[in-house]
């Protein structure tokens, strides 16, 4: 994805054209590059370095300890479990958010008045922060004093113990994430659907295609790039999701909803083992980068826009 963007940005045609007008000095980019280097690149490199250091909690200087954190990482059953949890949560999030946002987005792309009104309501969760939403659902799902005592029995949790049961906790985290982010992805799909040339649908109508066939033969293929964009956002977001877990379940019960990034937080800021936490963090970067690249490759999506998704 990096390669594609670079080529696109410096396409030969532009290069010669720019030459005639004159080029801005590369020096203009220096402040921005330096700033980014100090607050993003250096920390990343430092994280990799720390992952090769022994148990260090910020006191004195970190001591190089070779691969000890990494060998431990691969033997740690808690890390294995957190990896599975993270993957399950990611899949759940994707499987929940994508269909809902896609259908809502396509529906909202129509220009009826009631759709516009409903879309405005759908947008409301976006004005709340992740923190606010997590606290709201913590109150709703409280097993002793919340709505969970009422709705729990309807959905298979007779004691209302939704966030206190291993599966319930994960489902709750995925649901809350969906409640928060589906509006955003709906907007993306709505924007994508409006780009689809009207003439395609008109032609299909004339050919006698029904609504379903139009959806599967026009809408979905035309939205392919939007689906990739939205999916990569969901996947990278869920892989590193921290706040909802931190605020809603604290990784519990036990470690049932402990994701890699929450596990990293605990190792770092409760256990003060910055070395091991950095190893966890580095592993997470590698996994999320590989996954995004794979997704982009797999979907055969290689235009300039593809570079927009990895964030």
């Amino acid at each position: 994805m990096v390669q594609d963007a670079r080529e696109a940005a410096t396409a030969p045609g532009r290069r010669s054209a720019a030459a005639r007008v004159g080029r801005p000095s590369p020096g203009w980019a220096v402040p921005g590059v330096l700033f980014f280097a100090v607050f993003a690149v250096v920390p990343m490199v430092y994280a990799v370095y720390l992952s090769f250091c022994g148990n260090w909690g910020g006191l004195g200087t970190p001591q190089f300890s070779g691969l000890s954190n990494w060998t431990r990482l691969f033997q740690d059953s808690d890390v294995r479990q957190a990896t599975v949890t993270t993957v399950v949560l990611t899949v759940l999030s994707w499987a929940f958010q994508t269909p809902v946002a896609l259908l809502l987005g396509v529906w909202a792309a129509g220009r009826e008045r009631n759709r516009a009104v409903l879309s405005a309501v759908f947008f409301i969760p976006l004005v709340l922060s992740t923190t606010a939403i997590a606290l709201l659902f913590k109150a709703i799902l409280d097993p002793n004093f919340g709505l969970a005592t009422t709705i729990g029995p309807w959905i298979g949790f007779p004691d209302g113990n939704i966030i206190g049961s291993p599966n319930g906790a994960l489902i709750a985290v995925a649901f809350v994430g969906g409640w928060q982010f589906i509006p955003f992805h709906t907007l993306i799909y709505q924007g994508g659907a409006r780009q689809i040339p009207e003439v395609l649908y008109q032609a299909a109508s004339i050919d006698g295609c029904g609504r379903w066939r139009q959806f599967f033969h026009i809408t979905l293929p035309q939205l392919r790039h939007t689906i990739t964009t939205s999916s990569v956002l969901i996947i990278v977001g869920s892989l590193t999701s921290f706040e909802t877990v931190f605020l809603l379940t604290q990784g519990g019960p036990g470690t049932s909803s402990t994701t890699l990034s929450y596990g990293m937080y605990r190792e770092a800021f409760q256990g003060f083992d910055f070395g091991y936490a950095s190893a966890l963090g580095t592993a997470l970067v590698v996994v999320s980068t590989l996954l995004s690249l794979l997704m982009v490759k797999f979907s055969g999506f290689g235009s300039m826009r593809s570079t927009r998704e990895g964030m």
Partner: protein, 279 residues
């Protein structure tokens, strides 16, 4: 758009309408609980059904929150958001311009580094940032939040800005150059005005992220004076404990500024967010 053939897409779709209705309920029920519970007394909230209408409406929860330092959190949040957006825009516009217009190897290299930054999730760097910010003497200050937040907004910003600057046609540059304009004037009078839509997307997206950021303020600040809305909300909710109405009043209050912004600038917000998904 074609006016004469009305496609199926324009017709009512009862099934999809039903689905949208279901989602409407899923969106509204928690919001209903949020607002009504924040108006309940604590005793009622501990015992009653959260779906019922409150027996007695009270604003005391809101008063409690407003008396617990809420205004300070709000001011800090506004400062953090404004400075983050300013830093990002001021630093990224020249970089994007160089990337688009200068074909040198360095510009190329810099852009590549930024793109790699897309793959770095912010939470992962929190440990080294905690150490670095501490060494810089910035721990527990607003800049400790602003600087990393801005840095992690730069890759997306650059992509969006580069995308919209590339759409500016070569003829316009040539016209400016014929007028004898220097690079600085070209940037300010041609490139910036013509990348308005990109800039507004960037501003909206960066502002939203800065406004809602949690992990940087959580780890990089600790005192009451440096709390922003998210960490303030978290602290208040731990203080209130089972006083759920007070926590939810704080949640409502924390959402009001963004809600007002949404009412005032709905179009800009929505097109800004849509812009993130590509035009």
């Amino acid at each position: 758009m074609s006016q004469y053939v009305k496609s199926l897409r324009m017709k009512a779709n009862p099934l999809a309408g039903l689905g949208a209705g279901v989602w409407l309920v899923i969106v509204l029920v928690p919001l209903y609980i949020l607002v009504t519970t924040s108006l309940r007394t604590q005793d009622e909230a501990l015992g009653g059904n959260p779906l019922s209408w409150p027996r007695t409406l009270t604003l005391s929860n809101y008063k409690l929150v407003l008396d617990s330092g809420f205004w300070g959190f709000l001011v800090n949040n506004v400062l953090v958001t404004a400075f983050t957006v300013a830093v990002v825009v001021v630093l990224c516009v020249p970089v994007a311009y160089v990337v688009v217009r200068s074909a040198g190897r360095w510009a190329d290299f810099a852009f590549r580094i930024f793109l790699l930054g897309l793959a770095i999730p912010a939470p992962v760097t929190i440990v080294p940032l905690y150490v670095i910010i501490g060494k810089m003497g910035l721990y527990d200050s607003l800049p400790a939040i602003i600087l990393p937040t801005a840095a992690f907004a730069m890759p997306v910003t650059l992509l969006i800005l580069v995308g919209s600057m590339r759409d500016i046609s070569e003829e316009l540059y040539e016209a400016m150059a014929l007028d004898g304009a220097g690079q600085a004037r070209i940037l300010m009078q041609l490139v910036v005005p013509l990348s308005r839509s990109g800039l507004s997307t960037v501003a909206v997206f960066t502002a939203l992220n800065a406004w809602n950021g949690f992990i940087f303020p959580l780890i990089l600040t600790q005192s009451d004076n440096e709390r922003v809305l998210t960490t303030g909300l978290y602290t208040l909710s731990s203080q209130y404990g089972v006083n759920i109405p007070a926590t939810l009043a704080a949640v409502v209050l924390s959402g009001i500024p963004m809600f007002v912004a949404y009412l005032l600038a709905r179009k800009a917000l929505i097109s800004g967010l849509m812009g993130v998904g590509g035009k």
